[in-house]
């Protein structure tokens, strides 16, 4: 199966004028783009602004996207260029750090700086999401947990996971789906409750 099939299906719909399909693309890649942009700008709020700008640029440039490369590769290039331009225009030097860095001191230092720029409700919600996802994963049966983690962390295909776990591809698909459903059930409560709190605060 060719990679990027779902993205291309959505991209084609956007190119035909379906804006709702672009929402799906943004939902899928917003976290990755924000994480990428945070290598260049100082704080998450600014990173979200830059990510938003990058998505709008991507939307306007989508008619020129021919599918010769993967959509996310193309999107990431736009995001990096947008972030660099933002840094130059604000006359700031880029802050280089790796979110997955093993350097604990650097990570804690950055965390301390980021804490000041976050809104309280955003931090509470984020912490709640993180702890919910972690506890939900912990509660999963072993086969479901292995399947979802190999998929999300390693980026293995269903076929590779099936070979690794010694089961059919259909079973892998089913396990990953059931793992997501179990986490999503818990997460839905947080989102609905969190969004409700945010509206009350707003």
């Amino acid at each position: 199966m060719p990679a990027d099939t779902s993205d291309l299906s959505l991209v084609r719909r956007v190119q035909r004028g379906d804006k709702g399909a672009f929402d799906a693309l943004v939902l899928k890649y917003q976290h990755k783009v924000v994480k990428l942009v945070m290598r260049y700008v100082r704080n998450p709020a600014e990173a979200e602004d830059v990510a938003q700008e990058a998505f709008i640029k991507a939307y306007r440039a989508l008619p020129q996207f021919r599918g010769e490369s993967a959509f996310y590769t193309w999107l990431y290039r736009i995001a990096i260029n947008t972030a660099k331009n933002a840094v130059v225009s604000r006359d700031r030097s880029p802050v280089e750090f790796d979110l997955d860095s093993q350097n604990t001191d650097e990570a804690y230092d950055m965390q301390g700086r980021l804490k000041d720029s976050e809104t309280p409700e955003g931090l509470v919600l984020t912490d709640e999401i993180r702890s919910t996802v972690n506890s939900a994963i912990d509660a999963l049966p072993e086969d479901l947990r292995t399947a979802i983690v190999l998929r999300e962390l390693e980026g293995l295909s269903y076929e590779e996971i099936a070979a690794a776990m010694g089961c059919p591809v259909g079973t892998v698909r089913s396990r990953i789906f059931r793992a997501r459903e179990a986490i999503d059930r818990r997460l839905r409560e947080v989102f609905e409750g969190g969004l409700g709190r945010a509206e009350e605060l707003g």
């Binding site: 060719p2 099939t5 779902s6 299906s9 959505l10 956007v14 190119q15 035909r16 004028g17 379906d18 804006k19 709702g20 672009f22 929402d23 799906a24 943004v26 939902l27 899928k28 890649y29 917003q30 924000v34 994480k35 998450p44 979200e48 990510a51 938003q52 998505f55 709008i56 939307y59 306007r60 989508l62 008619p63 020129q64 979110l99 997955d100 860095s101 093993q102 965390q111 980021l114 931090l123 984020t126 912490d127 993180r130 702890s131 972690n134 994963i137 947990r145 292995t146 983690v149 999300e152 390693e154 269903y158 690794a164 789906f177 997501r180 459903e181 999503d184 989102f191 969004l195 945010a198």
Partner: protein, 317 residues
């Protein structure tokens, strides 16, 4: 299709593991179904959360995890999650970027096929760009209108202009009678002098439509030429020439002579319209006399105008 099957397909689509035909159908539904879209967004949040929380330990342990999974099929203890307080900067996961982008995209014009054209139209349709180009566009429109008016005015005054308009004369009995009266096949040459391409094409079309060469006639002189001065004006200029400056008087007289309406004799001379040679002047004077004789048919008008001109000549201004 029940909801579970639909959600299963959505999960597979999120992983790029859904066959393309199903993917097309589900993409269409995903774009419209807000509930499905929200679930899709939560799948993305789960994915981001797992990567953010466990990326550090996975970088070192994933190889062992995969090996263990292959050997036992039960990697118990290999993938214990790192705690939330352990590592990594905080990141909001509440989908705020998606909502903001969705609002902004809703205000954007829809994308159309034909990207280059669409892009140009969109850029020009942007309010700031549109405001910037408005004065330029207005200036260009005014300049175009002036140029078009000038061209139309010049073409209306040129000797070529009446040809197309009077082409039907060729087919009329009057035109045939005029042709018989003149009985001369050489009537076209003056009209070929100094023609514009458009007039040439029009004339070529007339020639193609002409049934026979001898039926092509020059229209009779008179009001056809818009530059031909009325007799009253000619008389006025002659009568008042002593009160005008020599240079102006000469210019006026030259213009009168040069723009004399075409008669048969004048039309035979290729340079008559240019007014640049003595032959042309001679032809013009001859045409002036013939024009005067032609106007003699309108006795009442001519007498009246002569009298009025005489009275005008007697009374200096």
């Amino acid at each position: 299709m029940n909801n579970e099957e639909l959600d299963s397909q959505l999960s597979a689509m999120f992983d790029d593991e859904l066959p393309e035909p199903e993917c097309e159908l589900l993409a269409r539904r995903l774009a419209r179904d807000e509930g499905l879209k929200a679930r899709w967004g939560r799948y993305a949040a789960i994915s981001a959360c797992i990567r953010m929380e466990r990326g550090g330990e996975t970088a070192t342990s994933v190889g062992a995890t995969r090996a263990s999974a292959r050997q036992t099929g039960s990697p118990t203890g290999e993938l214990r999650p790192a705690r939330a307080e352990a590592r990594g900067p905080r990141m909001r996961l509440n989908g705020d970027v998606a909502r903001r982008v969705s609002r902004m995209v809703a205000e954007e014009p829809p994308l159309l096929a034909g990207s280059g054209v669409r892009r140009t139209v969109r850029r020009l349709a942007h309010p700031a760009i549109s405001r910037r180009w408005q004065p330029v566009a207005a200036g260009a429109a005014v300049a175009t209108a002036v140029a078009a008016s000038a061209i139309l005015w010049l073409r209306a005054g040129s000797p070529d202009a009446p040809i197309v308009a009077q082409a039907p004369i060729e087919q009329s009995p009057i035109g045939a009678a005029t042709a018989n009266r003149s009985a001369s096949p050489r009537v076209a040459p003056p009209l070929l002098h100094g023609v514009t391409p458009a007039a040439g094409l029009a004339r070529a079309a007339v020639h193609r439509n002409a049934p026979a060469p001898d039926s092509f006639v020059v229209p009779p002189a008179g009001p056809a030429s818009s530059f031909a001065p009325p007799i009253e004006l000619a008389n006025f200029v002659v009568a008042h020439s002593e009160y005008s400056m020599p240079l102006v008087r000469r210019s006026a007289l030259t213009a009168l002579v040069a723009d004399e309406p075409l008669t048969d004799d004048a039309a035979d001379t290729p340079l008559a319209s240019s007014g640049g040679s003595s032959d042309a002047a001679g032809g013009a004077s001859a045409s002036a006399s013939s024009a005067a004789s032609a106007q003699g048919h309108e006795a009442a008008n001519a007498d009246t105008s002569d009298r009025s001109n005489g009275s005008q000549a007697d009374s200096p201004h």
